[in-house]
């Protein structure tokens, strides 16, 4: 600018410096002669020319140069404002980009706001859609996984059904064979049952005959018992006679003894009579003993006969019942033979049907296997879709929007809470602990100073074990070599890392880094939030 200003004055100076020496030379040559008017006229013309130059060239040029300088300054301001907007857009901060300030001309500002608004809406739509795609992909994956699992179980069930149907077909064949054999056996048993019934009828007739014979024996035994009682009476009479004879012989002997020698013969006779009476009594006792044995035997015969008759009654009743049962059994066996024949036919048909079902089930098994394989591919596709949606979501999270889906914005809000209380670590800790109440998918929130040292942190106890926290995280730990810290420190902007494996949970996570600023906008620290991908996409 100063160079142009000097350049403007240089024209006037050259004009003056060229006019004045020319006038001096003309004055020297023609000052006093007839050519003096020429010199004077030249001088007037040079002055006029100088005035004209100043008025017509120099002064307008000066005003133009002043306008150009103002325009250049304005352009610089516009360029700076536009650069800020673009820089915010480059760092994805569409919220800041929506407030470009007064540096931009109104038309450009409106256009920039409209463009950023359109971009913001687009990104918001992308975030929303990607979330929906991820959720849908998750649902599809879960469904397809369940279907695949169900198909596998179904395939296994079909295999079992196949085995069962094979067994059923085989069993049906065996049943048909057995039923046929059973029908033959039942027919044979029916014939045997009829023969058995006839044999039992003959046996019943025989038993009736035996029973009648036993009745005759019992009647005769009763007669014998009556006769033996009569014999007892006779024996009693003989005993009485023998006793009387004995008494008589004793009295005779007494009388003989009183008769002295005259009674000796009589005494001998009396003694013989007494002996006869004694023998009679002994014989009677012997007969009585024999008769007792005889009557005992008769009583035993009577009792045995009675028992035998009762038993024959029982046997006859049982035989009749057996005959009736055999007749029923024979009839049942006839029915059984017919039923077994029908069963045989039915099971043969069942065997044929089972084989047909078996073929169908095998075909179904192949189809189910194909479905299971297709579902596995479908599951893989759903997983890929989910991953892609997640990638899109992560890419869209590079932009900060005024949206509940914008993690950058959410973390930015936390950074706004941390900024005023920075230095009061209890307040900072409360803010960090409060993160998990709203953002349950956050594994850890932490604050790193400008040198990259961890100054405060809070972990989500619902996601992380305490021992893992102690082994991985510690205050004073240096993060200065981490790319996210370097980027954040360099650009003083929010930053989203790619997905990596968390040391705390072993699961996938990514980190959102937001600079914590003072009220005057100076960078004081960096807030980091580790987001658990699984829980985040689930929510």
């Amino acid at each position: 600018m100063n160079q142009n200003r000097y350049r403007a004055w240089l024209g006037s100076a050259i004009l003056v410096m060229a006019t004045l020496p020319a006038g001096a030379l003309l004055e020297f040559a023609f000052g006093t002669g007839r050519w003096g008017w020429l010199v004077r006229g030249y001088m007037v013309f040079a002055l006029l020319l100088l005035v004209v130059y100043v008025v017509a060239v120099f002064l307008p040029g000066l005003r133009v140069r002043q306008k150009l300088a103002a325009l250049e300054k304005s352009c610089d301001l516009h360029k700076t404002g536009l650069s800020n907007v673009l820089n915010n857009i480059r760092h994805g901060d569409l919220v800041e980009a929506l407030t470009p300030g007064a540096d931009l001309p109104l038309g450009i500002e409106e256009s920039v706001v409209a463009a950023v608004g359109a971009l913001s809406g687009l990104v918001q739509q992308i975030q929303t859609v990607s979330i929906e795609i991820a959720g849908t992909a998750n649902s599809v994956r879960d469904t397809s996984t369940q279907l695949a699992s169900g198909s596998s179980e179904q395939a296994a069930s079909v295999i079992e059904i196949t085995a069962t149907m094979e067994e059923l077909a085989r069993t049906a064949g065996q049943i048909a064979t057995n039923a046929s054999s059973q029908a033959d056996l039942a027919a044979q048993s029916e014939v045997a049952g009829k023969s058995g019934a006839e044999a039992i009828e003959s046996a019943v007739a025989g038993i009736e005959s035996v029973r009648e014979g036993m009745g005759v024996i019992a009647a005769r035994a009763e007669i014998l018992d009556s006769r033996s009682r009569e014999i007892y009476q006779i024996l009693d009479l003989i005993t009485d006679i023998a006793q009387e004879t004995h008494i008589l012989s004793l009295n005779a002997a007494i009388e003989a003894s009183t008769a002295g020698e005259h009674g000796e013969r009589f005494s001998v006779v009396a003694r013989e009579v007494r002996r006869l009476a004694e023998r009679s009594r002994e014989s009677v006792e012997s007969v009585r003993g024999l008769l007792h044995e005889f009557t005992t035997a008769i009583h035993a015969v009577v009792i045995s006969t009675e028992e035998g008759r009762k038993k024959t009654d029982v046997v006859a009743d049982q035989s009749r019942a057996t005959a009736a049962a055999i007749e029923q059994l024979s009839a049942a066996l006839g029915n059984t033979a017919q039923a077994a024949q029908e069963i045989s036919l039915a099971t043969q048909e069942q065997q044929t049907a089972s084989q047909e079902v078996l073929l169908t089930v095998r075909e179904e098994s192949d189809v189910i296997t194909e479905i299971a394989e297709g579902l596995e591919e479908f599951t893989d596709a759903a997983i890929n879709l989910n991953q892609n949606a997640l990638s899109i979501q992560l890419l869209s999270q590079a932009f900060r929007l005024e949206s509940s889906h914008s993690l950058k914005h959410l973390v930015y809000q936390i950074a706004l809470k941390v900024g005023p209380v920075f230095g009061n670590f209890e307040a900072v800790d409360r803010v960090l602990q409060g993160v998990f109440a709203e953002l349950q998918y956050v594994e850890m929130a932490y604050l790193v100073d400008l040198q990259g040292h961890l100054v405060a942190f809070a972990v989500n106890q619902d996601l992380i074990r305490v021992d893992a926290e102690k082994s991985v995280v510690a205050v004073g730990q240096s993060y200065s070599d981490r790319p996210w810290f370097q980027n954040s420190s360099r650009d003083n902007q929010t930053f989203v890392t790619p997905v990596y494996q968390s040391l705390l949970t072993g699961e996938q996570c990514f980190t959102i880094v937001v600079p914590v600023k003072h009220r005057d906008g100076t960078h004081k620290a960096t807030l980091g939030v580790d987001v658990n991908v699984g829980n985040w996409t689930r929510i």
């Binding site: 007494i254 000796e264 005494s267």
Partner: protein, 163 residues
């Protein structure tokens, strides 16, 4: 003592009637036996003394019937199932009286050698002694006759009352 079944030797042998009461056997002098009767009806008497079973009838005269088993055991009279009464004569030659001894059975008549009546004590029934493989007791009818003449001393078991 030696026994024989002969009545020929009246000087050396004494003849006895062998009777049985329950499981005991008794010897009764045959000289004093008057009759053996069976199926005798015995009626109770209002003046019953020890050993007396009652009154019966023999030869148209009343007959006092004593239980031989009761006399031997000095217990109450026992009525056997089938009773046989031995009618014996008691008392001296001038005043003999028939008395019935109720027994279960009259078995036989036997001779007993060397019997001395003076050896007998004044007991009605002697102590048992061996004879023919069994224990027998002799009935002392003289003692029974002597006791019959003793005054009445009540109904004590060891006292004999006048019949």
């Amino acid at each position: 003592m030696k026994m024989e079944s002969h009545a020929n030797h009246a000087d050396q042998f004494e003849m006895f009637l062998v009777v049985r009461c329950d499981s005991e056997f008794f010897l009764i002098e045959l000289d004093r036996v008057q009759r053996v009767i069976d199926n005798v009806s015995i009626y109770p008497s209002p003046f019953m003394v020890n050993g007396m079973m009652g009154l019966s009838r023999f030869g148209g005269e009343p007959l006092i019937v004593l239980s031989l088993e009761s006399l031997a055991s000095q217990g109450p009279p026992v009525r056997p199932a089938r009773m046989t009464v031995i009618v014996v004569r008691v008392g001296g030659s001038d005043e003999q009286q028939g008395v019935g001894l109720a027994v279960d059975e009259a078995l036989e008549i036997l001779s007993l050698e060397g019997v001395d009546s003076e050896d007998l004590s004044d007991e009605v029934v002697s102590a048992p002694f061996g004879f023919g493989g069994r224990q027998v007791r002799r009935v002392n009818l003289q003692a029974l006759s002597d006791q019959r003449h003793q005054p009445v001393g009540g109904n004590q078991p060891n006292q004999r009352s006048d019949i």
